[in-house]
Symmetry: C2
């Protein structure tokens, strides 16, 4: 058995999830906390390699003893969230932990992921939104929002999303299935919520940039199918800044989780 | 004429509003921005001396030329919010500016202020709430919340609020009129909203601490009138941490503002 952690983090202070040479990452902080808790080094595999500055409301990571496929611990699984959080900095928090089989893989076993893109839409910036949204000062009217929604609906379905993938990416299969793609106004914030079986590199940020191009009249909602079909990155919108992006939910098939009674 | 600025700030990085010897304050940052914009030193008088770590959704400050009662500028008043914000750090933002008479005083002319106290109520802390709310891990049930609301209603009216004032405070008249005192659950957050013609030192944080004592059963809602009447600080609840407190609104009598046509 190994342990699947559910965590949230404010990405502002991190160079993304995955350990790398230049800069502090979330994985590194989890490694330190796991070492302190379990008394030995661990392998911690994440569900996604989020970019520098990207946030997570829900991120999943599997923990096993370093070099092994499982982990043993006397700490009750229900205590792990608070125990982990106590060893983590204030901008990372573990809120759930479950036992999973040793062949569980946090990235390959995902059946659905949901991302949020957060736009702060008021003429003057907000001190409370700094680093947590993309500031668009020009008012996005209800009419603009309806156009964005019309465009967003075209992303739903199984498509080759090459037009919305960062150039230079080495993905061999650019086909993904988008299950949902909706916008919502919450006060001064516009939230774009997109669910899919997987995402290409920078895909959500480019989808959001394309919707902004629609809001600003540089694209019509009806242009979207042709942009998608073109597979041409230059026809889509800009890559929006990382700071507005949140991994919001990660869904696995239910049979991969052990029930409480089977634990350990 | 002088200029009244409306601003918001994240208080985390500041030793409160008012300039002091040890530590950076919001007033100091406003002084620097005003000097850069107007080309001369200014006097900037705030509506309140918020404590270290306290935030403001709306804070008011009046700007005049240093040592004088007014100010002249060629910058149109409508441009001032963006112009000021451009000279301020990301955690302070000016969102409105209006002309006011030279005898206007941002503190003495206030007729009503509203504060929010923000409680984050989930077992595990949130990376996104760090420094922006007080974390209460124990679940506050709907029944607890109803008790808190019953207690909060007793604060409304004109009372001697000495029991809810930090000890050692030198206020001579501890009578204030509370216009509204309500609680609201917003997802994992409980917001306490209190409006009054003025507040004593630490008053909102002690009112919030008293409501928490009611939620936790250390006080009954019906105890509140006796706690208030006692004028005894030790009978009220604890002083809640500064990080959950927000100055939310500052109201002045309408006749103190000049209309657009009269400007300059």
């Amino acid at each position: 058995m190994k342990i699947l952690l559910k965590l949230s983090y404010l990405g502002t202070g991190y160079c993304g999830y995955q350990v790398q040479a230049n800069g502090v990452t979330v994985q590194e902080k989890l490694n330190e906390a796991a070492q302190a808790l379990f008394g030995h080094p661990c392998d911690i595999v994440g569900c996604s390699r989020t970019d520098s500055g990207v946030h997570a409301n829900e991120f999943c990571a599997a923990v096993s003893r370093k070099g092994e496929t499982g982990l043993q611990t006397g700490i009750p699984i229900g205590r792990l969230p608070l125990a982990f959080s106590a060893h983590l900095p204030p901008d990372i928090s573990v809120f759930d932990a479950v036992w999973v089989n040793e062949d569980f893989h946090p990235r390959y076993d995902v059946c659905e992921k949901e991302y949020l893109y957060r736009i702060y839409n008021r003429p003057v910036r907000s001190p409370f939104e700094e680093g947590r949204s993309c500031h668009i000062p020009r008012p996005i009217t209800d009419c603009d929002l309806a156009r964005m929604q019309e465009a967003a609906a075209y992303f739903v379905g199984t498509h080759d999303f090459s037009a919305y993938m960062a150039s230079g990416s080495k993905i061999t299969d650019p086909v993904r299935t988008v299950f949902g793609s909706v916008l919502e106004r919450q006060g001064d914030v516009i939230l774009y919520r997109v669910r899919a079986n997987g995402f290409l590199y920078h895909m959500v940020r480019i989808l959001a940039g394309t919707l902004l191009a629609v809001a600003e009249g540089r694209l019509e909602p009806d242009d979207i199918p042709a942009v998608t079909a073109s597979r041409d990155r230059s026809r889509a919108g800009i890559t929006m800044p990382a700071e507005g992006l949140y991994l919001n939910r990660v869904v696995y098939p239910g049979h991969l989780f052990r029930t409480g009674k089977e634990n350990r």
